[in-house]
């Protein structure tokens, strides 16, 4: 089970990142659990300064940008 966390305060790019990550996880066929982290203090606990950020199993994988579907698949695997 992969734990996917989307860090972001609700900007459009954050929502898109959640969609892309979901699509990528489904394409890979891996079971996953997604959480949207919107609370600033929690976002900051990952040391992230620019949103949206993608966190997989507690590891920050991308920051401040929207990775493509292909790239997201690599980031998730």
């Amino acid at each position: 089970m992969k734990k996917i966390q989307i860090l972001g305060t609700g900007c459009t790019k954050c929502k898109k990142l959640a969609e892309v990550a979901e699509a990528a996880a489904q394409a890979l066929g891996t079971p996953y659990e997604m959480e949207k982290v919107t609370e600033i203090a929690r976002i900051m606990s990952f040391g992230v300064m620019s949103t949206p950020a993608l966190v997989v199993n507690g590891v920050v994988k991308s920051v401040g940008r929207l990775p493509s579907l292909e790239e997201t698949k690599i980031l998730l695997s």
């Binding site: 900007c11 900051m44 606990s45 040391g47 300064m49 620019s50 590891v59 920050v60 990775p67 493509s68």
Partner: protein, 364 residues
Amino acid sequence: MNLPPKTSPLRPSVTTGRYLLIGAVALALWWVLYTHLAPASHWLTTVVFGLTAGTHLASTVEFFVFEVPKVILLLALIVFAVGVIRTFFTPERTRAVLAGKREATGNVLAALLGMVTPFCSCSAVPLFIGFVTTGVPLGVTFSFLISAPMVNEIALVLLFGLFGWKVAALYLTTGLLIAIAAGWIIGRLKLENHVEDWVYATQTGAVAGTCASVANRGNCGADTPLNFAARVAAGCEAVRDIVGRVWLYVVAGIAVGAGIHGYVPTNAMASIMGKDAWWSVPLSVLIGVPMYANAAGIIPVVQALLGKGAALGTVLAFMMSVIGLSLPELIILRKVLKPRLIAVFVGVVATGILLVGYLFNALL
């Protein structure tokens, strides 16, 4: 992520040479289009639409069909260039440069980096916390936060396209000076205790996997080495994103501007926004702050006003307060700043803008 570079989507495997060739062709095409806009718009107005040159309607239409493609062409070119430049700067790298810098030097650097570091007001809060908790002085952080929205490429392009390079250069220089001076003053005032208490208590702990740990810096944009093709791709993405977002404002703004251009009598604005009306500068700042108009929509209107007798200083002050001090951003920053610090921030920046307004009205 330990994949060989060639399969990584961050590094598309198209050769640099091919990109340069495509770039050269695109640039040549751009130039041909750009230099033929004036005759084309005149021809379109007088021949295709059959309007008599010199009438109100003809001058309105010609202004519109000339300015819209011109501004959009300029916008696409500059946004692309800035998009590429920004791949060299990330908030993480900027922070690393600014951390531990002394004031003065730090303020100058922060204002300059504010121009080129990717910034969106939606991440102003995490950025603020990220800066002040890792050793960037408060005043230096403010220099960055003032310069980042105010001195932006869209404003510069529009000012260059509609007013010429002198006004664009004036805006750039005075915008940077305000950011440097205001940040320095805020630093001198020692207002650290007016930052919300939880900010300094925030743990940005160096747990493995977070951006604070050295091992994971690559994923966090601190030192991802991108190749040429990836930077070009980032530039294209910026054009798609930004031009896609603002073109409608450009068209709307120029349409209103065109109407003013064609129908409002010359010097109609002189009594309200002219040099001799001393109160016009503070008034335009007061109107400008709560306005959160897209720079793309407001500048064409302002340009048309300038043509009708408004004074340049007043116009610059209005622009700066619209773009540099926006109510939504202040509301976002309220989460991390106590009211007094917000008030000082607005007060200092607004004073700087007022000075710029009066200075240019006096000089030009």
